[in-house]
């Protein structure tokens, strides 16, 4: 499916306009560019070089009801064009890109709160509702979903479900797939169905995570909780990653359910300490690093395309940062040797919440476990600071791109028995090419997720994308060799599609059969998920 010829465009425009309304169908240049990509970092590299990666959609449409979506899918099948569902476009795997043109189906006009039932602890929303708005509506009634991805301001319920997302409190409340009671979905052939969490076989858990390849989620009934009476934070310093990971395992396997449990490796702990003004986290090394990559800008950045004379200080910082990024292997090796001795070890943050008496008891029990694992108590300060800024980190990546680098994240998961090997193997695979750090979060009694952040020089231009691809290929190959899953919560989209056969083995054939059954015309988000 490619961008359409003029006669085909006219026919499709007429059909879509008739099904929706002229105001809700657009072929405008601006819309087509915006909806051509999501927040996949590789597309940022292409944009920086003024090269669009993909074929923008031929149309953007805004349905208001499930039956309109059904009609759009019928039209798409008739005209042999792709349909790509769109929430808020904040996915980081290219899942919402229109790689074959077609129709971008924006759900944001389907964003109503349909029902909140405090007796049954259930709430029903249309799928286009933004995450923070959903949470605010629940909070008004003393309730919470318990789902706090860092993208909560710019992601939708439908997007969460489509990607199997996780929030920062998943250790207590679960991932999004644990929270859903019922879905309404429009399948690829236009059939509108409801999938219940209790029916067998569990069709709902086939739709969840399918990233718009099997159906378009239009509304969901979610299980909700009372707002916690209290939150208790505490932080600990561990000498090594292994000790901190053991501490997390002890806490989770004792049956405790803290909402937050995060362990930063040495470099990530150092970066995390940059924002700490109190001094107990500050080291000389973190002060130096803060000069280079942290802190506030002394002057506003110029708009894109406008040359602005840099201050000498800013110029030096940028040069130093680029220099560091282009010597990633050396810096990683230096870090491995030096950081354990000068940077103060690994930071662990724990947050317990709920009924006051239970949260306090849980916090006390966790405290004992973490001390027994070798942790040193740092009090509540770092945890409170993390909580205050917990959504901010995703918005701090721009300076690296401006400085001529790129940054991306690789979030994987495995069982406790394989966790440290996974950490070591991925680091070993990526560290010759990029500065890499990691934190451990989304903990379970049986295992944990590791969230790697890597950064490298994006210049010289033209080579950056090859470097980016090489890093991902090495990283995911290491994940597969370590027996782990290639994604814990960001999803697969386009970026990891080539590894789906490794992830699923014979299961990829089963997935293709599901696709054939539920989307027989193949209109839904083609080219994604390795299908």
């Amino acid at each position: 499916m490619t961008n359409l010829a003029p006669r085909e465009t006219a026919a499709l425009a007429a059909a879509l306009t008739s099904a929706l309304s002229p105001a809700r169908v657009s072929r405008g240049e601006a819309e087509r560019l915006i909806y051509a990509r999501d927040m996949w970092p590789r597309t940022l590299l292409a944009l920086r070089d003024n090269r669009p990666l993909v074929a923008p959609p031929d149309f953007v449409v805004w349905p208001e009801q499930a039956r309109e979506i059904a009609e759009v899918l019928r039209i798409a099948a008739e005209h042999h064009v792709a349909v790509v569902p769109w929430g808020a476009g904040s996915g980081v795997c290219g899942g919402a890109m229109t790689i074959r043109g077609g129709i971008s189906l924006d759900l944001k006009r389907m964003s109503a709160v349909l029902e909140i039932d405090a007796d049954d602890h259930l709430a029903t929303f249309q799928a286009g509702i933004l995450g923070q708005i959903l949470e605010d509506q629940l909070n008004l009634r003393g309730l919470t979903l318990g789902h706090f991805p860092s993208s909560i301001y710019c992601s939708t319920l439908g997007g969460w479900l489509a990607a199997r997302s996780a929030g920062q409190c998943s250790s207590r409340y679960g991932k999004i797939e644990d929270m859903v009671e019922e879905l309404e979905v429009v399948l690829g052939d236009g059939q509108i169905v409801r999938c219940d969490a209790h029916e067998f076989p569990n069709l709902q858990q086939l739709i969840v995570g399918s990233e718009g390849t099997l159906g378009v989620i239009t509304q969901a009934t979610m299980r909700v909780h009372r707002l916690p009476e209290t939150r208790i934070f505490r932080a600990y310093r561990f000498p090594r990653v292994a000790a901190g990971a053991e501490g997390i395992r002890r806490v989770m396997q004792r049956g405790l359910r803290p909402a937050v449990l995060r362990l930063y490796d040495e470099l990530d702990s150092l970066i995390a300490s940059l924002g700490d003004e109190s001094g107990d986290q500050r080291t000389m090394l973190s002060s130096l690093l803060g000069l280079v990559i942290g802190g506030k800008s002394e002057e506003p950045a110029a708009p894109p395309g406008v040359r602005q004379e840099e201050s000498r200080g800013k110029h030096l910082k940028r040069r130093l940062l680029k220099s560091m990024l282009s010597r990633a292997g050396l810096l990683n090796r230096f870090g491995e040797l030096v950081l354990p001795h000068v940077a103060g070890g690994c930071l662990l943050i724990i947050g317990c919440e709920g009924t006051a008496a239970l949260a306090e008891t849980e916090a006390a029990l966790a405290h004992a476990e973490l001390l027994a694992a070798g942790g040193r108590d740092l009090g509540e300060g770092p945890g409170l600071r993390w909580f205050e800024h917990r959504h901010a980190v995703s918005y701090k990546q721009s300076p690296l791109y401006v400085a001529g680098g790129f940054v991306d994240t690789l979030e994987v998961a495995t069982t406790w028995g394989r966790l440290l090997d996974l950490y070591t193997q991925v680091r070993r695979a990526i560290s010759p090419l990029a500065i890499v750090m990691a934190h451990f979060s989304h903990a379970y009694p049986e295992g944990c997720s590791i969230y790697f952040t890597f950064s490298a020089a994006a210049e010289p231009r033209g080579r950056a994308e090859r470097l980016y691809d090489d890093i991902w290929r090495r990283g995911l190959s290491a994940v597969v060799r370590a027996g782990a899953t290639i994604s814990h919560h960001h999803g697969v989209g386009f970026s990891k599609a080539s590894f789906m056969a490794d992830e699923h083995g014979h299961g990829i054939e089963i997935y293709r059969q599901l696709k054939q059954a539920l989307d027989p015309h193949g209109v839904l988000n083609p080219g994604k998920m390795g299908l």
Binding site: D119, D120, A166, S170, E177, V193, D196, H198, E199, F200, P201, N202, L203, Q205, L206, I207, V208, G209, E211, L214, R223, H225, R226, R254, G255, T355, A357, L358, T361, E362, A364, L365, A413, T414, T415, G417, H442, P445, E446, G447, C448, S449, T485, I486, S487, H488, H489, G491, V492, K496, E503, H504, G505, H506, G507, E509, I510, L514, Q516, A517
Partner: protein
């Protein structure tokens, strides 16, 4: 059980009248699983109720099951999986002229791997849960709080056909503890889902097969989350003036974060007498088995005590709570007819008093269990005359608008998936007709 005489007796010798199809099948199955594990004997075939198989096979590995399914497709043969309970109990689809193979899992009973670091066990699906639980307990581990009736199932049987009984507020549903499966598919492949605590790599293919009644694939082994044996447990028992108050108390406890290993509302005096062994003057009770670190158990107990008082409940002495814990029976006797339905919390005040009244009229025990934040399962069971039937009990619940959260195996969408995954309809299931 496989007849002893067939352990060493190969399939019956062919005669002039033995159909060619059957002969061919006999040869193929003998090559795949071994003649000694293949039987056409009437005495073996009679053990499978109205499945009425033409042949019984006892495969010894997942690969053998794959080969049986591969052999079945071109032969237009149907294969039905049988564990401990399916042999005679279920109603199978009527014969359709195709040969039927009963695939008996009783040789697939090995525990393959125990990962004590990750608290995971991988076991073949023919193992009885009681045997698995005993093996785990020897390592100070457990599948979690499960009633005795569930422990009699095989692992594969429970995963293919879940029961609401295999649930506790503390551990969740046993089916949710399954993190990975190996499945022999109707197409003749072997699917092994990758084990990770959670994933975001597309549809959850493990969930495709759990609860599918063996119609989409044959579960050969599974990886389950296990738990450490509880550090401390304490039973508590409260009496309430009415079952509504007891259920609302339980709901409030769950909402405040108390998750007992077992939580039972004794809906009427008959239930209280039967399950606690005494009459206490108030019609309803709430029994809870709190489990975990001692400090946490104590805090939960104090909180629960306070919530019970808020709802008009009074605590019974520890010896009565301990007696309930010791008896620890199923909600109602497994051997007597019983029916269950899902009761949303929002309907408790409207439906439960009426149900309690009907239970008294009909001399039924009323129990509410498997509580979560959304609702609970109500169970009614007879102690009356033997002619009370399950349909009659279900009718009492339906009259009040209460229905089970039943499987929708026959839904149009499920059938569409089945047609795609098993176009030749090789797999037979008692749940799909």
């Amino acid at each position: 059980m496989k007849s002893d005489e067939n352990l060493h007796t190969p399939a019956r010798a062919p005669t002039a009248s033995t159909p060619a199809k059957e002969l061919e099948l006999q040869n193929v199955l003998g090559r795949v699983v071994g003649a000694v594990h293949t039987s056409f004997a009437d005495s073996d075939r009679a053990n499978y109720g109205d499945l009425a198989p033409d042949v019984v096979v006892w495969p010894g590995s997942a690969d053998e099951i794959v080969e049986v399914l591969r052999a079945a497709r071109p032969a237009a043969t149907r294969v039905a999986v049988s564990g401990a309970g399916t042999r005679a109990r279920h109603r199978w689809p009527p014969p359709d002229g195709r040969l039927r193979i009963a695939l008996d899992m009783q040789r697939l009973t090995n525990i393959l791997r125990l990962d004590e670091t990750s608290l995971l066990v991988q076991s073949q699906c023919g193992i009885q849960l009681r045997v698995l639980e005993e093996a785990l307990r020897r390592e100070s581990l457990t599948l979690g709080p499960l009633p005795d009736s569930v422990l009699g199932s095989t692992l594969g049987g429970l995963l293919a056909d879940p029961t609401p009984l295999a649930y506790s507020p503390l551990a969740g549903a046993l089916i949710d503890a399954c993190l990975g499966v190996t499945v022999a598919t109707p197409a003749g492949g072997l699917l092994e889902t990758r084990v990770a605590p959670r994933r975001a790599t597309g549809p959850d293919l493990t969930r495709l097969y759990l609860g599918a009644g063996g119609a989409l694939g044959v579960l050969t082994d599974a990886v389950l989350r296990v738990r450490r044996l509880p550090e401390h447990q304490q039973a508590v028992l409260f009496l309430f003036p009415a079952p509504v108050a007891a259920v609302l108390c339980a709901r409030e406890a769950l909402a405040r974060g108390i998750h007992p290993a077992r939580f039972v509302v004794l809906g009427n005096e008959r239930a209280t007498k039967s399950l606690v062994g005494g009459a206490f003057g108030l019609p309803s009770g709430l029994a809870a088995l709190l489990s975990g670190p001692e400090e946490l158990v104590e805090v939960q107990r104090l909180l629960l005590e306070g919530i019970a008082r808020e709802h008009g409940g009074s605590e019974l002495p520890q010896q009565d709570a301990d007696r309930w814990r010791t008896m620890h029976p199923d909600p109602v006797s497994r051997d007597r007819p019983r029916a269950h339905a899902f009761l949303p919390h929002g309907r408790v005040k409207a439906a439960l008093p009426a149900l309690a009244e009907r239970a008294e009229e009909r001399q039924l025990r009323l129990v509410v269990e498997q509580l979560d934040l959304q609702g609970s399962q109500v169970w009614i069971g007879t102690e009356g005359p033997e002619d009370d039937s399950l349909a009659d009990l279900s009718g009492i619940l339906e009259a009040l608008g209460l229905r089970p959260r039943r499987a929708r195996h026959g839904s149009a969408l499920a059938e569409r998936l089945r047609a795609q995954l098993d176009p030749a309809h090789v797999l037979l299931s008692p749940r799909w007709h």
